[in-house]
């Protein structure tokens, strides 16, 4: 239908005004700020590409790359665990056993709880001496497995990833389950008639048909993994201890832009440069996502 310009403006402007002013403009303004050195008050000093030079060489670059590597590790491990376990559990749920509804509710429950609260909760459970995890291990005779889960630089990040999986897995299970249940039963019947075993049916029929879902989830996981912050904050603080072994770009950014005790580098401009760096990593994936979704919609 055709419509008068006046109506277009009335209906579109309010949403686009807010969106432009508080989402798109700030994203691009970060880029402008990243060329300045600025304490947040007082005068902004134009420093050209200095912030970027600092980010990729010298003392600060060690922090940035250490964190970047942790983000990559986070993405790889979280994706393997959440998609792998998610697929397995979704397959079990698809077998139409009784109680599926209750089960769906239980597995989704942790998703309703703020990440930061989940972090605080597990910081108590994972306490080395009096935390429930180590106490439980001792109680069942596995005391030798007790570890300072969050205090050991070799374990801390992996522990945080597992807590993350504990919280989010239900979401992946349910999304993958929905995509499995979407497969038309005739396809599976046909596989059976051809004499395929359950194993073969799973890998030759079900898995290939859920690949588009995995692709979407992988994109979302990638973007999410480069924006981890809340849980690290709750479990290890903004210093991302022990010895920065759990530092991610999100915590580097927070320390740089908004301070926090013991931060060697504090500068809004440098902080903005860190966000531009994250933005550059995430942006291609966002565009890919928009492309995939738009292409599917037009079909």
């Amino acid at each position: 239908m055709k419509v008068k310009l006046r109506y277009i403006l009335i209906f579109i402007l309010p949403a686009m005004f807010l969106y432009t002013l508080f989402v798109m403009y700030p994203l691009f303004d970060s880029l402008r700020l990243s060329f300045y050195s600025w304490r947040g008050v007082g005068e902004k000093i134009f420093v050209g590409l200095k912030n970027y030079r600092d980010m990729f060489s010298g003392g600060f670059s060690k922090e940035v790359f250490n964190a970047f590597y942790h983000n990559v590790y986070f993405f790889v491990l979280v994706s393997a665990l959440e998609l792998g376990l998610g697929f397995l559990i979704a397959l079990l749920l698809a077998s139409k056993i009784k109680g599926t509804k209750i089960f769906r509710t239980v597995v989704y429950l942790p998703n309703m709880i703020p990440l930061v609260m989940v972090g605080f909760m597990w910081s108590l459970f994972l306490h080395p001496q009096i935390g429930l995890v180590n106490q439980l291990l001792k109680a069942i005779g596995l005391g030798s497995l007790a570890r300072p889960w969050l205090g050991d630089p070799n374990l801390a990040l992996t522990t945080i990833i597992i807590v993350n999986v504990w919280r989010n897995l239900g979401f992946y299970v349910l999304v993958i389950l929905a995509s499995i249940l979407n497969i038309s039963p005739e396809l599976i019947e046909a596989a059976y008639i051809d004499g395929a075993s359950n194993w073969k049916t799973t890998w030759r029929v079900i898995f290939p048909l859920t690949v588009p879902t995995f692709r979407t989830l992988l994109i979302l996981l990638f973007i999410g993994s480069f924006n981890v912050f809340d849980m690290i904050y709750a479990l290890e603080g903004v210093q991302a201890g022990p010895f920065r072994s759990t530092d991610v770009l999100g915590t580097v950014f927070y320390r740089t832009a908004f301070g926090g005790l013991g931060s060697a580098y504090t500068d809004m401009g440098l902080g903005a440069a860190v966000t531009v760096f994250i933005f550059m990593i995430v942006m291609p994936m966002s565009i890919l996502y928009v492309y995939l979704v738009e292409r599917r919609d037009r079909r």
């Binding site: 419509v3 277009i8 309010p14 949403a15 686009m16 798109m24 597995v107 504990w166 924006n227």
Partner: protein, 275 residues
């Protein structure tokens, strides 16, 4: 659907029960330990409390300013949800039901924000709000949340509105209905399920957010529930019985809401993400 042997079903029950236990166990322990004295909590972490110390809750309630937190979060979430639903449904309606130049590009532009994390823009957002005197204020948070949730909501609503038959709108127009009347009395009622998805997802996003309050709010009386409890954790880090009660209190509203409306929530959150 796939056929399974008895053994497979048994295995499925076993695995799923273990998984459910791993999920539910920590919640159970949290609630149980929140009723113990500190001494009992450390000495007998797995037993039921010998005496129910409901006083823990009274103390946590007061010291963590839980009521303030609930109220602030509720105000921010409620207003943001209304704003997001109204603004993005208006936008989606125009995009889905009318033809004009640049429509597709406008839609693509709005979709850019779908996956770009708004927290990357937080420094300019902070500066912008500061220049408007809106840092440390609930209104500031509301504006930010209303803006960052528009892309997702507009996207979902546009998809649903696409499936409203154009003939219906055209017929109404011939009968003399205005653009606003078609929006209110034809399109909106037909996309009610989408409106509830959008409302639920926005509500959960806003209620659970911690990042923006952490950066934009520095006055305790303005803290949302997530921020209030995180301040509380810093102050009472050794009094675990209070921490467990505080945690239980802070997550109770969403958990209760979820248990009542779980199927709607699950449909909303999972459909929403994949759409």
């Amino acid at each position: 659907m796939m056929r399974f042997s008895k053994f497979y079903k048994f295995l499925a029950y076993l695995v799923l029960s273990v998984y459910a236990l791993i999920i539910a166990g920590p919640f159970f322990m949290m609630v149980m330990n929140s009723f113990k004295s500190m001494r009992e909590l450390f000495l007998k972490p797995f037993s039921l409390p010998t005496k129910f110390m409901y006083q823990n809750y009274v103390q946590a309630w007061q010291r963590a300013s839980i009521m303030r937190g609930y109220l602030n979060s509720a105000i921010v979430a409620a207003v943001s949800v209304v704003a997001v639903v109204v603004l993005s449904s208006m936008f989606a309606y125009m995009i889905a039901k009318y033809e004009f130049r640049g429509r597709r590009y406008l839609f693509l532009y709005s979709m850019l924000g779908l996956t770009l994390p708004a927290r990357l823009a937080v420094i300019p957002i902070f500066l912008l709000l500061r220049s408007l005197n809106l840092t440390n204020s609930l209104l500031g948070l509301i504006i930010v949340y209303s803006s960052v949730n528009i892309p997702f909501s507009a996207f979902i609503l546009k998809n649903f509105m696409d499936s409203v038959p154009n003939e219906l709108c055209e017929a109404a127009r011939i009968d003399g209905a205005s653009v606003g009347m078609i929006y209110r009395s034809i399109v909106l009622p037909l996309v009610k399920p989408a409106l509830s998805i959008v409302a639920i997802v926005t509500f959960v996003n806003v209620w659970n957010d911690f990042f923006f309050p952490l950066i934009l709010i520095n006055d305790r009386s303005k803290a949302t529930i997530t921020l209030a409890v995180s301040i509380f954790f810093g102050e009472y880090s050794t009094q675990w019985q209070l921490l467990f009660s505080g945690l239980t209190l802070s997550i109770a509203p969403t958990v209760i809401l979820f248990l009542i409306f779980s199927q709607t929530f699950i449909a909303g959150m999972t459909q929403g993400a994949i759409k």
